[in-house]
């Protein structure tokens, strides 16, 4: 709180204490909700794409309420690129692993030959791993879309 007040005193124009405090309180819950949507994607409405968008929206909200530099402090451009590639790699990796183990592309039951848990269990776990990859990729692509659009690509000044 004291740090926030000092920040406002230092830079009064364009800053809003109420919006910043509300966003600071809201962002952890939005991220928790995004994780919930990803993890429960195969039982209830939602999934990797929607959860990824919600996770990305939390970082966009941070960049809107503070500035681009603050959101870059919580997730740097390098980490963002790494996460988007990791997400795509998880998806393709799981799918190819299924094919290499003797099943079809994205045939999760084939993963049973690696760790024997039962075909039904692997159907559930496989779709969860794939959704995790989709969620990571969608989150970082949404955040980098906003960063590039808001700053014109140089990551100096946002909205």
């Amino acid at each position: 709180m004291k740090q926030l007040q000092e920040q406002v005193a230092r830079n009064p124009e364009g800053d809003n204490l109420i919006i910043r405090t509300a966003v600071r309180l809201l962002v952890p819950f939005i991220q928790l909700y995004g994780l919930y949507v990803i993890v429960h994607g195969h039982y209830s409405p939602g999934g990797g794409f929607q959860g990824g968008v919600v996770l990305g929206a939390s970082f966009i909200l941070l960049a809107l309420a503070y500035d681009l530099k603050t959101s870059l402090r919580f997730m740097s451009e390098r980490v963002n690129n790494l996460l988007s590639n990791l997400g795509a790699l998880i998806f393709i990796g799981i799918a190819l692993l299924c094919a290499l183990l003797g099943g079809l592309f994205l045939d999760y039951a084939a993963l049973e030959r690696l760790i024997p848990l039962g075909a039904e269990e692997w159907h559930s776990l496989g779709i969860f791993l794939v959704e995790l990859g989709v969620g990571l990729a969608v989150m970082s692509i949404m955040v980098s879309l906003f960063w590039d659009l808001a700053s014109g690509g140089d990551m100096e000044e946002g909205l």
């Binding site: 409405p45 968008v53 929206a57 966009i60 879309l145 808001a150 909205l159």
Partner: protein, 81 residues
């Protein structure tokens, strides 16, 4: 859903869709497009497509409005044609 409410939401969707392409101010068009997306989300949820409604609410009303506004801030707010 009550059918009168259903018809009302459908009417609002059409009004918003016409307003988006006729309004001159690009910022207003972006905001009305967000309203359109949210009304479509209500209709999807009513028709039982909860997954599509979820996507419409997050992407259509949430992210795309922010991206449109970010793009408009880089150009001029008034459209010439």
């Amino acid at each position: 859903m009550i059918w009168q409410l259903d018809q009302f939401v459908l009417l609002l969707v059409v009004v918003c869709a016409v307003a988006v392409i006729t309004v001159r101010d690009l910022l207003s068009a972006a905001v009305i497009f967000g309203v359109y997306s949210f009304l479509m989300c209500l209709l999807w949820a009513k028709m039982g497509a909860v997954d599509v409604a979820f996507t419409e609410a997050t992407v259509g009303a949430g992210i795309s409005t922010v991206l449109f506004i970010a793009a408009i801030f880089r150009t001029t707010r008034r459209s010439k044609d």
